[in-house]
Every structure is written in C-alpha cells, then in structure tokens.
Amino acid sequence: MEAKTAPRSSLLRPERIQRFLAFGGLIALIVVFSLASQYFLKPDNIGGIFLATAVNGVLALGVTFVIINGGIDLSVGTVMTFSAVMTAQFITIWQMPVPVGILAGLLTGALCGLANGLMVTKMKVPPFVATLGMLYITKGLSLVVSQLKPIYFNDTPIFNQVAMGSVLGDLARVVIGVFDPSNPMVLEPLANPTIVDPIKNIVLVFFGAAIIAAFILGKTILGRYTFAMGSNVEATRLSGVNVDRWQTAIYTLCGLFAGLAGVIIGARLNSAQPALGAGYELDAIAAAVIGGTSLSGGEGSILGTVIGAFVISVLANGLRILSVPQEWQIVVTGTILVLAVYLDRRRKK
C-alpha cells in the first residue's frame, strides 16, 4: 500500500512520459531532417513550418477541450471555412470594417459550437453524430453564402498585410536601428529580412491562442470541469455540477477556436475559399492525439497538442524537402498517428 499511495516520481508519471515521447519525437524529426537537408533549418523554412502549423494548431486547441471532455468535434474544419466565408461576407460584400468582420467570424464559429453543444446536451444526440451533422451543415452553408465562389479581401489589403506582417521583425529592426542605424536590414527591410521576419503575426496569434487555451484548461473552472466530465461524467453530475451547461460551454469554446482558425486562413489566403475545410478536422484530432490527449477523455494538455500539431507539419515539410513522393508522405503520417495511439493504449494497460 505504501508504494501505491506514494506519489510516483513526477517524471515517470504516464502522461509525462507521453508528452516526453511526443516532444522527443518532434526533436528527433527535426534532427533527422536538418541532417538530411541543408534547407530545413533556414529561417524561411522554419517560418513556413510555423505558418503551416497555425491553422491546424488553432483547430486542434479547440478539439483538445472537446476530446478531454470525452466528446469529439468533427465539424471544426468546415466551421472554420464557414467562419472565413462569414468574415469575407461582412468585410467584402457588406463593406464592414475589418475588426467587425473578424468579430463576425469568431462569433460564427462560437455559434456553430453552441449549436453543437446544445445538440449534444439538450437533444442528446451523440457528439459524433451531432458534429458530423454540423460538418455537413456548415459545408453547405459556406457554399450557399459564398454562392460557390471564393470571396477575396482585395478591397481591404490591410487584413492580409497585418496578418502576414511580422511584429517580431519590426521589433528586431527597431532594436538593430538603435545600435546600427545604417544596417541594410533597417534601410531596406524587404530585401534584407531579419532572422525573425519569417515568424508572421498569425503565428503569434496561434501562440497567443495556445497560451490562452492552456490558461483556461489549467487554471479556470471551465478547465477543471473539462477534465472532471471527461473522467467520470456521472460523478461530476452527482457532485452538483451543471454538466449540460459546462459541456455546452466547451463545444462553444471549440467553435470559437474554429472561428479564429477561419479568420487566420482567410487572412493568409487573402480570400475565403468555400470548398476548403473538410478533412481538416482529422488533422486537428490527429494533432491532439499525438500530443497525448486520450480519446476516452480525462487526459490531455495544450502543450501536448501544440507539439502534436508541430509533429504533423514538420513531418510534412521535411518529407517534401526531401522530395519523398506524396503517397509515401501520407503513409508515414498515418503510421506516426497509429504509433501514437498505440503508445497511448499501452501505457493505459
């Protein structure tokens, strides 16, 4: 009994092992790819990896909450698209100011998430079915609202410029400028980017969102109940927690993140592409799972999910740089995913 009740050495806790595995895997990938190709570690490529992670990463943040809570959200990809379309509808078609459009996109995502939550808690539709329905609904609505055409943000170039600018780069230039005003990086920024210029603002948005998500999950009531419900929903209910309300809140939060992803993808592509989105939910779920979030609920972390999202994009990027045929890239991604879930199962036994 002594051994069982004493806290195990913190490094050996199963969830830490999983996170360590994912992180170790990520480092291993980076080492292998940087040895295999001299271009892998170039600032532009690193920036590219960050950018490629942003959309999937933000989607995965929301999905992490839902999965820890014991549910699943299949609609995040198309909710993202629908949010992008609504943002474009507000900004380009209805000529609203950009911040209003961004707000509309976020709100659209949150409303879709709210609808998911109400379907799950009030109508008692299983999450898989409810969110599958939402996948189709938002996929269709995106096409209806956009009338099957991409909507461009050409009248509001500021949207793309801000998103794809680099505050970090500007800061670096200011700092360099103080010490060396004649440095070419200061005088001709376009031709001489600083090393942090490839880190675009939407990447910072992603990191900001991740920090907020980690805060909500770790430090707030919502996060606590996310774990509690995923761990044992009946016990949580018997403890007097209003389970339905909190679950709805979790789906809404997930929708909000999908909305944010919609704004990000719109800004990056400078357009809302209504046919995009289906399939993105699987990448997001994969990121969460690789990062140690258990599909049976109760465990997971934001840090893990962020690592998982990077594993996916580093893998894709590295294999492309090595010109591995695409079909094999897909096989490798699938293998990594199964391996991650297998480890998840094994440590549970």
Binding site: G48, L51, V144, R268, L269, Q326
Partner: protein, 334 residues
C-alpha cells in the same frame, strides 16, 4: 423544455433566413430551372439531357455549367447539371449516372472521374440506345460517340514551351498539381514533363508535388519547395488551386520578379496576378466552350447526325498583353 423549443425555432429561423437571403442573388447567376426535372422526358416537350460533371464547387465547373446552359437554351433542350463534391467520389458519380439512365434521357454528357468504373454503365446506355458524349477529361472507352475536351497534354506542353522561353532555356523548375490519379492531373504533369525532357535538356524538373487543389496545402507545399531549391527559376501550377498556392508562397517569400510562374485556368486571383505581372501567364481551357460543345454534340447525336470522335475545345495562352482581348475574356471566369 423551454430552451429546447427556443433552440429549435431559432435554428430553423436561421436556416430559413440564410436561404432566403441568398436566393435572389443566386437566381440570376444560374439560369437553370430551380429543380431538376424529376419526371421522365415523356411528360415534357423538350428532350432531356443530363450533364454529369466531375464537380460543381469549383469555378471551372461553374463555367462549364454556364456553357451547357447556353447551348440548352439555344438548342431548345432541357438539361440538368450535377457532379460529386470532390473528384474522388467515383461511387457518387456512378450513382448519378445510374439515376440519369433510369430517367430515359435523350442523351447523356459525362466527364468521368474514373473511366473504368463506368464501363458497365456505358454498355447499359449503349444497349438502351442512349448516346453518351464525353467532356473535359473524357471517358476511356469506344462507346462515347464523341468527346469535347481540351487536349491537356498539348496544352501542358505549350506551357512548357513558354516556361523554357521565359527562363532562357536552362535552369530548375518545379511542378505542383492537384492530384496524381485524375486524367487531367496525369496529362498535365506528363505533357509538361515530357516536353521539357524532349526539347530542353538544360532544364531540370526538380520536384513534382500534389496539393489536392487545396489552396492552403498548396501554399505550404510551394513554400517548402521554393525554400529547398534556392536556384528555382520557374514554377508550373497545373490547376487553379495549385497555382494559387504558388502565388501565395511566392508572395510570402517576397519572390516577386525572381520566379517565373505559369498557371492553368483562370479565376480572379490568378487574373489579378497576371495583370500585375507577378505571374507570367497561364494556359486557359475553354470551359464555357466545353459545356456548350458537349450539349451541342449530344443534340446532334440524339438526332442521329454524324460526329467527329474528338471535339477539341482548344486552349489558349494568355498573359499581361492579351488578357483583355475579347477572345480571351470570353473564356476566362472569375
């Protein structure tokens, strides 16, 4: 209980409002009857020709649709235009074809996602005496009486010639295409690659990747490839989604003017890039012509007229200099 009812009502309202809000705007754009004729042609005066395409979401297919509707109006026939959501949905398309056959149409126009999957159904159509007209990528079979399509191999070869000319006959180029299994994907990559290999020994194709026509994925791919090949001089994108990826990547990497970009088809973003000189130019097919000519051929076949096996709908090269020529404007779409 109360909140449940409220939810149902609100969501219904939302849906209705969206449909209502978009309907008037959508109507003039598509002049098709609001609903496909559910009845067999016996009850309508006009002959019925279903047009089964490979998709409907992309601008290209919308243009094909516009062309076929134009022909239908001029030649006084009823058409329906439908296609699966993605170009991978063979089963869905087979089902559409089966349903179309059951309605006993006067003729069927088909752009097969997978030719081989259609052979039994094509034989069924032949036995029933219903002529089949292929369009776009066509159908690998003797049964279709005619095929209205772009010669994609020739078109991609023309793109290769332009690329060679613009980069001075030597250097590294890369290709990004939509997928490695569809006819158009295969033909365009093959046409471009073969032409370079045969005629321009000093040009090397350093990478060929596929982005599924997804703009975001294509962007990330193109970015990686450009990063991995600093000496890259040219980039060929084999469809609209792919070339948009190349444009985004080049823009994000500040490659304006350093890279010769050649695209395929049109679309607003590509047209803008060509106008500004960011993109060298593109091959355009004639989607409206494809739609028009396949319905026209179907009407002829229905009347028993003799048809050429291959109806070449042609392709054109366009760049900054001729983008506003009337004959180019006619085949471009937004």
């Amino acid at each position: 209980m109360k909140s449940k009812n409220l939810f149902v009502v609100v969501s219904l309202l939302l849906v209705v409002a969206m449909i209502a809000g978009c309907q008037p705007a959508a109507a003039p754009a598509t002049q098709a009857p609001a609903q496909p004729p559910a009845q067999p042609p016996a009850t309508t005066a006009k002959p019925y020709i279903p047009v089964i395409s490979k998709g409907f979401q992309h601008q290209f297919w919308q243009a094909v649709k516009a062309g076929s509707e134009k022909a239908a109006k001029e030649l006084n026939v009823d058409i329906t235009f439908e296609g699966p959501e993605t170009e991978a949905m063979v089963d869905k398309q087979v089902e559409m074809f089966q349903t179309a056959l059951d309605k006993k149409p006067a003729a069927i126009c088909l752009a097969a996602v997978d030719s081989k999957a259609f052979i039994p159904l094509l034989e069924k159509a032949k036995a029933a005496g219903i002529p089949v007209i292929g369009f776009d990528s066509g159908v690998d079979s003797d049964i279709p009486v005619a095929t209205a399509a772009t010669d994609n191999i020739a078109a991609a070869a023309a793109a290769a010639d332009k690329m060679a000319e613009l980069i001075g006959g030597s250097g590294e180029v890369a290709i990004i295409a939509h997928d490695q299994t569809s006819r158009t994907g295969i033909d365009r990559v093959k046409g471009f690659t073969d032409q370079i290999k045969a005629k321009y020994p000093n040009i090397t194709i350093v990478d060929t990747q596929y982005g599924g026509g997804d703009q975001l994925k294509s962007t990330d791919i193109a970015k990686t490839v450009i990063g991995a090949h600093p000496n890259l001089k040219g980039y060929f994108g084999a469809n609209e989604g792919s070339i948009i990826g190349v444009l985004n990547a080049a823009k994000e990497l500040n490659m304006g003017g350093k890279l010769t970009i050649i695209g395929y088809d049109s679309g607003k973003q590509q047209k803008d890039a060509i106008r500004s000189g960011f993109q060298a130019g593109a091959i355009t097919q004639d989607p409206i012509g494809i739609g028009y000519k396949c319905v026209e051929a179907a009407v002829k076949a229905m009347k028993g007229e003799k048809l050429d096996k291959n109806i070449d709908t042609g392709f054109k090269w366009y760049d900054k200099t001729n983008i506003d020529d009337p004959e180019i404007v006619a085949v471009l779409y937004d």
